[in-house]
């Protein structure tokens, strides 16, 4: 789309939506939110950027191919489940560590890495669908 207003706003909107999607992803641990909905928000952000600047610009900005992102997310999720093999508990059991970063205790869990994996799968697959559809529109 070639309206000036949209092209000016799109980068800010995209950046804002991606930040928001990460917020939703992390919030999802105890409250409504999570990897799936966060991933959808991020994918819509890329779609907006694509509508404003074309598919090639999104592909450049993403650096990795969307499907590779989805693959990495899938891998991360499965590995999060398999880590429990080393703790002597069944597959997909949540495991926690509490490292101190700059004096603040940060609880980290395989639950979070699983959800980040889900986020990446959704971002990758939905973005790749959206880009394919927009590409067809260009041609």
């Amino acid at each position: 789309m070639n309206t000036l207003i949209f092209r000016t706003v799109a980068p800010f909107l995209t950046a804002l939506m991606i930040v928001f999607s990460i917020f939703v992803l992390l919030r999802g641990h105890n409250e409504p939110g999570g990897g799936f909905i966060g991933g959808l928000i991020a994918a819509s952000a890329f779609a907006i950027y694509g509508i404003a600047y074309g598919v090639a610009a999104v592909r450049r900005a993403l650096w990795f191919h969307p499907l590779s992102i989805a693959g990495a997310g899938l891998m991360l999720s499965v590995v999060s489940g398999l880590i429990s093999a080393f703790a002597g508990v069944p597959f997909m059991t949540g495991l926690w560590i509490y490292p101190k970063l700059f004096g603040v205790e940060v609880p980290l869990a395989t639950v979070i890495s699983f959800d980040i994996g889900v986020y990446l799968v959704v971002v990758g697959s939905i973005t790749s669908i959206a880009l394919a559809l927009e590409e067809k529109d260009d041609a």
Partner: protein, 522 residues
């Protein structure tokens, strides 16, 4: 959960406390391994030339894991692992008995054969469309479906394999493929949605999704609409398995993709519908199955005989193979309908035979196309003089598919006929024999026309080239044929395993005990 809790909580109220052993890990490893391999291949999408080097070892590992799992469950009884440590019936259970492990192992073998054949059959462009990642995810869905002990999880694995099968079906995006894929997609989505609706209904009745828990409760519950529920499940799974009134998607779509993809589909997908029928209808709702057995038997006879006629009517070899797949489904349904130990083990045995034989049949047809340059019976010919060795292997396979001795198709057929005669259903036995006769005629005609008949003049130009190449497809076909011959000559091991599987279905005591060691944890 902000900080490590110092409160003492009795975890054993909610968690499985015993650390899982290696045997338990074997239950979850097949789908986990396949998903990991699929994810890795997705990330390597620019190095399609290396896909085979990851996919084939992963499939070999899958076969080995499934074999170890089968050995474990056939000697030590069903194994359960609870996901995320939650106690049953709340956590998702992966429960494997002999039936699940047997089906998983044989599917893995068929998947490996198709993977090997794909190394030459699937071109670089097919690989760029994602053949190998889709194959890995399809195998993940197939293994997950066979190994899970949770009915909603079964639905999820159905979706996984359905989505991957869509991807495989339209590999290359030709017009004919899109046409076939559309019919396949619409009808399969209706079937899967029906399955989902039935699962929702089941949850409303029982308040649980764990299959062992349902098996316990279904035997005690009174006044629940279980008949409606069973009928819904049968309709949903019959659509998946391509049973007679709802099977039109299969001949309309299976001839459109690459032949390796057809081989995978023909071998694996419909058998998962049969597995689900065995698991849900036979194990969970024995009373209702008995009531519905006449309907199942009529459906079985119609499926068999009409697909036998369908085989005779086809000129395109791939379409004929599609009807051969459906014919096998009819036989398995007959076994389920007879409601006896012999019939059920015959159905299981037929499913194992059919997975191997159908995969091999499609691969053979792919070679026929490579040799004669045509998919049709009317145009081909002269294979016997070109490749006598291949002709012998094909003949063995045709005999196996038709159920003639000394190959694997014979034993399940004998058991099915015996089971139907035992319960006095002579028409069911007649259906099995007539359909076998029709298949023999159709396949005999194929051998006569495509192999013995001298090659037509016009085809002479095609013949010179492709004889030497495609050793890998030959390896895949020979491997499957060797299994089929072994299975036919030494049927004791598969027979006793399938009997063990049928016993586990008719009396799910040990299955339930593996999930609830204390005999019910409500």
């Amino acid at each position: 959960m902000a900080s490590p809790s110092s409160l003492s909580v009795d975890l054993s109220q909610a968690f499985v406390m015993a650390p899982p052993g290696l045997g338990e890990w074997l239950v979850i490893l097949p789908p986990a391994l396949m998903i990991t391999a699929g994810a890795l291949l997705m990330m390597m999408r620019h190095r399609v030339d290396r896909h085979g080097f990851i996919a084939i070892p992963a499939l070999v590992a899958l076969v080995l894991i499934d074999a170890a799992l089968l050995w474990k469950v056939s000697t030590g009884g069903p194994v359960t692992m609870m996901m995320g440590r939650w106690l049953p019936p709340f956590g998702i259970a992966f429960t494997v008995d002999v039936l699940g492990a047997l089906m998983a192992l044989v599917s893995a073998l068929a998947g490996l054969a198709a993977g090997i054949a794909a190394l030459t059959d699937i071109s670089d462009s097919g690989r760029r469309y994602g053949f190998f990642p889709f194959l890995m995810l399809l195998m993940a869905g197939v293994s997950g479906a066979f190994l899970t002990g949770d009915i909603f999880n079964l639905y999820v694995w159905f979706e996984v394999l359905l989505i991957s099968s869509f991807g495989l079906l339209i590999l290359g995006s030709e017009k004919q493929q899109i046409d076939g894929a559309l019919k396949y997609a619409v009808l399969n989505l209706i079937g899967t949605t029906l399955f989902l609706i039935s699962v929702g209904y089941l949850y409303a009745i029982f308040g649980t999704l764990n299959m062992a828990d349902i098996a316990l409760k279904a035997r005690e519950i009174n006044g629940a609409p279980l008949m409606t529920l069973s009928a819904l499940f049968i309709l949903a799974f019959a659509m998946k398995a391509a049973a007679f009134p709802v099977n039109f998607w299969l001949p309309a779509s299976y001839h459109t993709p690459r032949i390796t993809v057809s081989a995978l589909f023909g071998g694996l997908l419909t058998k998962i519908g049969i597995y689900a029928l065995l698991r849900v209808i036979v194990m969970l709702f024995p009373v209702q199955r008995e009531e519905l057995s006449l309907v199942l038997a009529i459906v079985a006879v119609l499926t068999m005989v009409l697909s036998g006629l369908g085989m005779l009517a086809q000129n395109d070899l791939r379409r004929m193979a599609g009807f051969a797949v459906i014919l096998g489904i009819g036989n398995m349904l007959a076994g389920i309908a007879t409601d006896t130990m012999v019939g059920l083990s015959g159905a299981v045995l037929y499913a194992l035979h059919s997975i191997l034989a159908m995969t091999a049949l499609y691969l053979v047809i792919g070679r026929v196309k490579a040799l004669t340059g045509s998919w049709t019976l009317s145009a081909g010919g002269g294979i016997y003089s070109m490749a006598p060795g291949f002709a012998f292997v094909s003949l063995a396979l045709f005999l196996a598919v038709a159920g003639l001795p000394p190959f694997s198709g014979l034993w399940p057929k004998i058991m099915l006929v015996k089971a139907s005669v035992d319960i006095g259903a002579w028409w069911l036995a007649a259906g099995i024999l007539i359909s076998g006769f029709l298949a023999t005629i159709a396949l005999g005609r194929t051998f006569l026309l495509a192999y013995w008949r001298p090659a037509p003049e016009s085809a002479a130009s095609v013949i010179a080239g492709p004889l030497k190449q495609d050793r890998l497809a030959a390896v895949a076909i020979l491997g499957l044929a060797a299994l089929i011959v072994l299975f036919g000559l030494f049927p004791e091991a598969p027979l006793s395993l399938s009997q063990q599987a049928a016993t586990g279905l008719l009396d799910p005591q040990s299955y339930v005990r593996s999930v609830f060691p204390q005999g019910g944890a409500q």
